[in-house]
Structure formats: C-alpha cells, structure tokens
Subunit: 432 residues, 2 copies
C-alpha cells in the first residue's frame, strides 16, 4: 500500500509526523527557508523546509523542485490559523516522484485558446479545481433532490432514431444497417414513458446540439437533468422547479464556501435565492419589455437580451409561463383557458445568466397531440410509441429540463460555459 | 395542486379516507366485489370495490375499467398483512382518467421482439419495474461510494477526436469543419488527467461500442463507472474494486429485497459477496483451465467460456491479475518483476455472469509509454496531451471500469443485458 495522508484529513494528525503526496503548486524562498505549497486534490498545504531540519540533498531538492513536479513530503503537522486550510508542515524529508520541466501554464496571464489547448493541465489550477468541485457538488445535489423525493432515475438512450424538436441541430451517424441515427437532444419523450411506468422519474445525462452558435452560452455537448412527473400540472411543475433551484443553490452556499471564495463569487447574491420566485406570464413579460422601451411583438420568442431586461428587476430567478403555442414544441399542452398559449415555463437566472430551465405540462390528449404533430410537419410514424402513452392510460403530466453547465456557470459567477465541464466541446473545438 | 397520496406512504394514512392515482395493473371479480390492483410507480395496492359501498355508475366503471387504464380512486386505508404491501383500500369512489383499449401486453407470454418493440409499455410490467428500481439503487450506491471516499466526479467528453483502444468498434460522425469525431469507448484517459488535478476522480456516463456482437452480453450503448486514483498501485486498485463490489451488492440486498423477490433472485447467493475475494494470477488461471481439461495456450486472452470455467470454483467474484502484456491495452504498466505481464486486473462475476471490471495500474514512465504507443501503431500526435501527464509531475496511478448493465444483470439474476436499461441499443435495434 502506497500509504499517505491527504491534506483534508490533517486535522486528525496535528503534532504527528505524516507523509503526504502531491504536486508543487507554488513555492517561495527566504534564505534558509523554502516554502513549498503542495496540492493533492483535497487541498493546499504550505510545507516549510528549514535548512537546519533537513539534509543538504533535501534542501537542494526543495530549492530546485519546479511547478507541478510530483513529490512526497514528510514532516510534522502544525496548526497555523493564518495558513490556507489552517495547517502547516514542518518538513523533515522530501522525495521527488516525477519531474516537471517547463510546465506550460505559468502564473502569468495566458490567452484562452492556449488554456483550452492545455485543458488537461489547466484543470490543475486553483480556479478550475474550484469550479469542478462545485460542479460535482451540484450534480450530487441534483441527484439527492430527486432520490429523496421518490423519483426513479431513468437513463434515456443517447442514440436515437429521430429528433424531438427539429432536425437542423442534430449530430448524425450511421447505425449499422439501420440507416441514420442521431445523438439525443433531450431525454424527455422517453422520460414520459418512464413516468407512466414509475410515476416520477428523472433523466440526467449528456445531450447534444450541433448548433453553430459560438456564444459563451453554448456547448455542443452538455449535461441536462429532466424530471418528468405523472399527475403534475403546470403549477406543480413550477413549484418543483422553484424548490429544486433553491435546494441546489443553498447546498452549494452551505458546502462550497471555500470554492466560492476562490472564485470571488458574491455569496450574498446566492443567499437570496430562496422561495418564492416571481412568476409572470409571457404576456406580462412582454409588457415589461415595452414599458422599458424595447420593441417587441407579442408572439415572438424572447432573445437573450430580452431575458436579461426582464430578469433585471429581480434578484431571484424569474419564472415566465404561458408562452405563445407557436414558438413552443409540439408536445406542450395548450392552456384550456386560452389556446393561443402553451402551458410552458422558462426560468431565467438573475444577473444576466439567462435561461436555465425550460419545461411544460405535456399534451395528454391523443387527438390534440396528433393535430400538433401534423401542424409541425413531424412524421407521425416515428411518434407512434409516444402516442401510445396517450392511448393506454394517459394522465396529466409535466416536467422540465435544467442545463447543468448553465447552472454551474451562474452559481460560480463566471463568464463562459466552457470552464464548467472537464473537456468542453464547441463548434470549433473537440480536442483535447 | 392535483393532490393525491402515493402507495408507498399508505402507512401514514391507516383509517383515513385518501385519494390515489395510477393505472390498473390487474383486476378480478367475485360477484358483488371487484378487486382492482392499482399501480402508481411506488407500489401496488388492492382496492376493493364493494357494490354496496359505491354508486351504480362507479360499480359499472369498476367492472369495465381495463388493463393500464388510468384512474383516481378514493377510499379508506386498511391494514391487511396478507395483501401485497400490507394495505388495502375500501373504495368509495372511482374516476376514469385515461382509457386503455386493447393494451397490447397481456398477462399471456409474448415473444422478446414484440416486447422490445413495445419497450415503452413493457417497462410498466412488474419485473421491468423491479429491474429499473434496482438499476437506480445501484447507480446511487456507485455515486455514494465514491462521494463518501473523497473522489471528485469528472464527466469525460462523449465526443472524442480519437480512440483509446483501436478504431474497429467506433461510432463515427462528422464534426462541423473539424473532420471525423467518435463516440467515446471509455473516459479513462481523460480521467487520468483528472486524477492529476484532483487526486481521486470517477467518471460515470454512457460509453459506446459499435461491436457486431449479437450476444446477450453486449449493448452498443452502456453506462460505465471508471474510478482513477493518483498514488494507487495494482494492489490498491484491487482493494478498491473489492470493497466497491461488496458495497454495491450488499446495498441492494439491504434496500431492494421486494424487487429481488419479484425477480425470484436467490438472495443467499448475493449475501455471500463479501470481502475478501479470491485473487489469482492469469498464469494460475491458465493452470486451472488446463487442470480441468480445457486446451489453452499461455498468452491468449480468455473467452467468456474460459471465464465461466475459472469462476465456477468460487461463490464470489474472482480477481484475475497480471495478464500477458500483449493482450492488454498500451497504457497498462508492465510488471517490473516480469515485463511479460501487465499490472492489469479483470474481475469475473460468479454464476457465469462474466467480466464486470477491467482495470490496471497505468504506465507512468514517459519513455516506456512512448514505446507502447509505437508498438501498438498508435498515432503519437493524438496522445501528446496524454503524454503531458507523464511530462509534468507523473505519479503512479491506477483505475478500473465497471460496466453498469453487466452488474445489474448479475445482481438481478437475469439472462440478458437488454432488460437492464430503459431503451436498449443493439446492433439490430435503435428503436423505440
């Protein structure tokens, strides 16, 4: 056993001599003392190599060890409230494991293209580690939320024979002798089948859009969580979305304070994300836009700038419901009180982070759904299985999708989605 | 709010009048009494509709309601130890929500092709529900296991520019102007970059093999969990795999007894899956084969029948380590004590369920890794980023991959992988 202690566990070893393993994050020197900052994935630790305490060879090594070299260090654990993490190590021994000659990412500024070219190394930096830890905490919060509420996980297929919402942004591939197949854009239609079997389900996996958007809000490969609930209407759906977002944000606030501080996130803004969230209809949102002097025609879809203007009145996510049916997907149920609008909801994050949730009550009437499929010029034969869900025990049901990377971007308070996933895929980039 | 009570919560409502919603699983009749079995995704409930207790319309409806019709039923909750789930409902009212005319899957036997054609409905059956619930519990156990042990989740890319282990079984697609891209077969190489940044990571997502295998042990799309640990050697790797498998199996035994009973699983066989597991070298395994009269040449890879013969001596998973380097992937470290073999391990499930884990210590020496890449005729330029992990602070590290669907198949004690995922993808099938 290559036994060693992790930085996060040092509080159990105060006063003891322990061995740690990791990489050199940074170092500085002050005459007879070398300060090596070790990182091991669980934290950062200042190790003090005092000339009088170690052999000449070890002191020379402490002088020459370079950024991102891996090493093993032994010493006594001291409490030190002023140090990062609250501990220091008085080193007595040091062994080089793997050298690191001319590590390309230095503390100076680098261009973004250079950093993404070196994404496999860039993820070692303090900010990227913080983002990836928050991403992990958010993923766990998402799963815990549904697991604790009686939902069953329902992994939908990635390879699909047809597209739910149009074919212009699909990645296409050959599937043996069965012709073309596509990468999924959403697991929703499958999740609806799951909800009829299991009551409440959620999907959570990668989804794909071959969108030619180069904006900071687009990735071609991103993770989406999609709950789908039998016997839920639009109001239930909005209640769940609201509770869900509050849960995610407050979990991160509670558990990821050190990481949020690395990112210099204004935590007070996140602390405000508590229920209830404002709910306004699309029609009311259009009035808001007009009252602020923006030109907008009822019936158009909101663009990102419209969303920003609508959301700027709030320090919480705003839920916009009942969009014109014409701009929404075929499967969304029309409002019985006004068939011009669909029982849809989008949730817009505050601080200009844009849409993080899109959802709706689904059309549960077979005849209406058939009409919609015709109106949208969709090939009915591909949807026969989906129509079966209305033929055999149809029930009111609803659901939504939350984009993981958009949520991580907002909670981390960063600019671009590409830093929220280990290896981002964009229109101009599928490496490393 | 479409308020109603779920079957799993009935113990809180004994003696109360409640409303439940769901689908008709089954019914029988006995003169003035109709017995409707309601399913709602959380359980099954026998509802007793006694002619004297309800209106004529309701009694007529109880008579006519058909399999998989959705309905709402109101009545008084009674404890009834003899009933499935321990409760019964004395119905006072019944409302049809969605009819179900000629539901295709009847209690009679159906052919497997018919059932997969109707997979969107087949998942409503008792056995399929049990399998999907166990799948969910296994996924949660997998994530909990790593989350509780300080691992960071590291979602690797699905779209990859090259293949880790050969190109014959890759799904290929066009990626904008960047040429061909492929669906990932394993997140491991990316996970290694993650381990250098975060110490211990795990990936858990869909992976793809365009294998032309039609066996019951192959899916083209399946989920894999891949832990990767800095500063772990092969023994550490095997210790972790052993603890991991025990944890998964014993969690299911503890939490999914009703589902295992639906599947008629011999639970005593699962209760035996506790550490330590037998560990034998490849060379010892070859001797076992020969002693049982099988022809086998040292240096060949084991086929499924060989694995079955080797594992039949044990009622636990058997860990076979130190395979001939020639049959293993380029990134596996050779045994310093015998370069003919790689520091690899496969874990073979008992009862003939075959390989569920493949893993190894990774080659951490830059020069040796370059040699392997040349020997395997792999294009070095695609691996430059991977080689960087050995150029900048290389450390001993190891990991493995566990196939989710194979594990679910084994734990459920079923024959075919296709029932362990909501919508299976196979060489001859990518619908519904």
């Amino acid at each position: 056993m290559l036994s060693h202690v992790y930085i996060k566990d040092l509080s159990k070893h105060v006063g003891e001599s322990v061995t740690l393993k990791g990489w050199l994050f940074n170092k500085r020197s002050s005459g007879k003392v070398k300060f090596l900052i070790l990182r091991d994935g669980t934290g950062y630790l200042q190790c003090i190599v005092f000339k009088g305490n170690v052999s000449e060879e070890v002191f020379a090594l402490a002088d020459s060890v370079s950024q991102e070299a891996s090493f093993e260090i032994t010493g006594k654990v001291k409490e030190e409230p002023r140090a990062v993490g609250g501990f220091e190590l008085d080193a007595t021994d040091l062994k080089l494991i793997g050298d690191s000659v001319e590590y390309p990412i230095t503390p100076k500024e680098h261009g973004i293209e250079f950093l993404i070219d070196n994404r496999h190394l860039w993820i070692r930096s303090k900010k990227q580690v913080a983002i990836l830890k928050i991403r992990h905490r958010i993923v766990k919060a998402i799963r815990d939320f549904y697991d604790e509420r009686g939902f069953t996980l329902f992994d939908p297929p990635i390879i699909t024979p047809n597209a739910a919402e149009g074919t212009s942004t699909l990645f296409e591939m050959d599937y043996f002798d069965l012709g073309k197949a596509y990468l999924t854009q959403s697991g929703q239609l499958y999740a609806e089948a799951g909800a009829m079997a299991l009551g409440k389900v959620y999907t959570f996996g990668p989804t794909f859009r071959a969108e030619k958007s180069k904006t900071r809000r687009h990735l071609t490969e991103f993770w989406m969580v999609e709950p789908e609930m039998a016997f839920y209407d639009l109001d239930d759906d909005m209640d769940l979305a609201e509770e869900f977002i509050e849960y995610i944000v407050q979990t991160v606030v509670k558990d990821c304070r050190p990481e949020l501080e690395v990112l210099e996130r204004d935590i007070s803004k996140l602390e405000k994300i508590v229920r209830p969230f404002p709910r306004i209809s699309y029609t009311e949102a259009v009035e808001v836009l007009k009252s602020k002097g923006r030109e907008f025609t009822w019936g158009d879809d909101f663009g990102a700038p419209d969303e920003t203007v609508i959301s700027e009145d709030y320090d919480k996510p705003v839920m916009i419901h009942r969009y014109p049916s014409a701009v929404k997907a075929f499967y969304m149920k029309r409002d019985p009180e006004n068939p011009e609008v669909a029982l849809a909801v989008d949730v817009i994050a505050p601080e200009g982070y844009g849409e993080i949730i899109g959802g709706s009550q689904r059309e549960d009437n077979l005849d209406f759904l058939l009409e919609r499929i015709k109106e949208h010029n969709l090939p009915q034969k591909y949807f026969e299985w989906y129509l079966d869900l209305r033929r055999f025990g149809s029930v009111p049901h609803a659901g939504f999708g939350l984009g993981l990377e958009r949520t991580v971007t907002w909670i981390c308070g960063i600019d671009h989605l590409r830093e929220t996933i280990p290896f981002p895929r964009m229109i101009y980039r599928n490496t490393p």
